[in-house]
Structure formats: C-alpha cells, structure tokens
Amino acid sequence: MPSARVVLAVVLVTVALALQVTLMSRLPLPGATPDLLLLVVVALALAHGPGFGLVCGFAAGLGADLVPPADHEVGRWALVLTVVGFLAGSAHDQARRSAFVPLVVVAVAGAASVLLYAGLGALMDDPNVTWVGVRELLPTAVVYDVVLSAFVLPGVLTMARRVEPDQAAFA
C-alpha cells in the first residue's frame, strides 16, 4: 500500500508532465518555457526532504525523457532532476524558517537545470546545444520559474501538508 505522499507525487508529476508539453510550451513567451515539472519536483523536495526529492526528480525526469515529443537520449532529464530534487530537498529545514529560501531554491534550480542539461548535451556533441541558445534561455528560464513558483509552490505545499500533516509541517 503506497503512502499518501507517494500517491500525491505520482498524480502531480503525471499532471505536470502532460501540461508541460500541451500548455506551457504553447504559451507565446520569448526564450525558455516555464518549467512546471521542475517546480513540482522542487515543491515535493522542499516538503519531504532530499531522499524523497531525489526519487521524485528521477521519476519525473525519466518521464520527461520518454513522453512524446521527447527526442533526446533517455536519462538526461532524469540525471538533471535527480540532482535538482536532492539539492532542493537539502533546503527542507531552512525553508521552514524563511519564506525567502524557497524563492532562492527555485531560481537556482531553474538555472541549474538549463546549465546541467546543456552541459550533458555538450559532452555528447549535441549539435542543438549552442552557447547562444544557453545565453538566451538562462535568464528567461529563471524569471519564468520564479514567477510561476508563486502559484505552484503554495499549492503543492498545501496539498502535501494536508496529506501528511505531521510530516510536512511547512509554513
């Protein structure tokens, strides 16, 4: 019998995966695409700590690697989001004390995801990864993710608290 937090994580990650490619990437915004999936991983990691965060990140990343129209090597997002989930989860305790910490975590996660993913591509001589492209994506990715997190983080954290009141006593 999976625990309530696992069920919640599976539902949230599936919804985020579907909305990421059907809605977020359709928004007429210049530069990067607001990363809903990344925010869900960060929120779950902040609520439950690094262990849960990195498993969520791996699962969500593997999903992003596999669902159409993905066309890159399987494992690239899995690696990136595992790292992001672990790092965001490490800020679990600090995030309880300050409302400012989650914002910093989101900004760092947004930047780290673009750089790590592009870095992996550069290692594999991916012709699509160019410095111009990275420079164009990086600032917009951070801004969009921080703005979107104002809506996503409180929502996910409220759900996490409701599902397991004592575990995720996060304000």
């Binding site: 490619v21 809605l23 596999l66 669902v67 159409p68 129209p69 066309d71 399987v74 993913y117 994506l137």
Partner: protein
Amino acid sequence: MNRDTRRTRVLLALLLVTSISLITIDYRGGDNSPLDGVRSLAATVFGPVERVAAAIARPVGDAVDSVGSLGDGVDEAARLKARNQELTRRLRTSELDRNRARELDELLHLAGAGRYTVVPARVIAIGSAQTFSWTVTLDAGSRDGIRPDMTVLNGDGLVGRVKTVGPSTSTVLLAVDPESSVGVRLEASMEVGFTTGQGIRDGGDLDLRLLDGQSTVDRGDRLVTFGSQGDRPYVPGVPVGEVVSVNGTPGSQTRSAVVSPYVDFTSLDLVGVVVDPPRTDPRDAVLPPRPAATPVPTVTVTVTPSPKAGG
C-alpha cells in the same frame, strides 16, 4: 538521522549511475537504441493522456489573451462589462474556428497542387525550449496510416518529417531543428543543395548549402524539396522558403545562404502528413504564383533591311 543521510547519499549515487548508464546506452545505440522499445511504450501509454490534456489545455491557451479583469458583478457597469467580455470571447472563438477552416483550406490546396495524399492532424504537444530540440507531437499515429519518415507539411510549405510513431500519436522533427537536413532545389535554376535548421526558436531561419560552388543564388530565390530516394523522408516539390541573404563568394567549395522558411514554426496547429507521394515530381507547381511584377516599358526597335545595305 545519520543513517538516514547515508541512505539518501547511497540512493543519490545509485540513481545518478542509473541515469548515466541510460544516457550511455541510448547514445551508443543511435538510431536503433535498445531503449526505443521503452520509448514507443511511453508513446502508447502517454499519447492518449496528451490528447486529453491538449483538448483541455487548448481552450485555456486560446483564452489566455482574451482574459481581462472580471467585473465584481455588483453594479450594473461591471455586469455589462462582463457581458461585453463574454461576447468578445465568443467572437474570438468563432474567429478561431474560421482560422482553423482557413488553415485546412490552404492545406488541401497545397496537397492538391502537388498531388500529395495527406492525412490531416493537429499539433497536441510541443517540446520545451530547454530541451534544445524542435519536435512536436501530432494527434495521429500508426492507426491513421502514419509511418516513420513521412513528410509533414501545412498550407504554407514544409514542416518536417515524422520521427517516431505511436498507435494514436506521432512525433515530428521540425525542419528548423539543427539535426534536420533537407535536400532542396532552387526554383527554375535546378541547383541542388540542402538546408539545416538554425534551431533558434524565434529567429527560425534555415542554412542553405549548395553543392555546386559555381552556382548562382540570389536574394528572393525560392526553394522546394528535391525529393529523397523512394520519397522518404521528403517528397519532391514541397515549398521550403525563400533566400534572404547569401554568404561567401562564387567559386568557393560550396555556396551558403540563409533561408527564411514559409512555415511559421512558432504557431503550428493544423498539418498534413503525406501518406502517399505524388506519382510524378510536381516541380515548381506547388509554389504560389509570383506576385505580378510591375511592367517595365520595353522599347522595340525594328530595323527593316534596306536594299542599299543588302547590296
């Protein structure tokens, strides 16, 4: 607590190693990677989910521009304002329907001109900009007769080619992707070359390389697909774009130019997949007629041979 931290670290290492192994296996495998099976399984399972999500998300996306402030509904002005907004929204929706009908019209016109047999489909999912690849998912798959390496076009011209196919969805590699390489022919002059995508989402141009360094290429020259062997992945005669600038000098190994594609890759919706290529190359028949040139007065001099000159 200490044991917990150690367990987390072991888990982190384990999942990182798993990811790296997956990347390595998939990268080494290239075009027939052992992970392709998992990929098509994911398309089978998640394709229908995406179709449903797209059906829900599409009106939301369409409404994004029409959302304004909603009146509080307490006083009359606010109520009328809300009513006005509702009517504007309905008007926009009917405009969207008209747009869609126009897109279908244009697609059928182009398909008719080239005698391509197409299966119409709509774009339901687009890859994130952060993945650095330019791919979209269509709501038609192997059940609709779509196979890998079929040409995808819309009313404006070439969109790309089908890369992977699931039962109800298929993934298209757009012509702007740097990994996409399309054989093209210059209108009229018959010079051949190939285009590769520049991959920048909002510049969206293509690089053209002509095989013959001596060939002449000018601004405004129009390109159609050359047609691949066996018409896969590209059928001949599909309009690609127009040359906007030429680099290099004649006589170098290859000539290169920048091409602005006819298709707007940022607002793809209705497309057609060519399931049956034309029996004969349509040549330049699919290109829209050139805008009528302003007539230049010509002076004709008629010389009548005089008996003196002849003598």
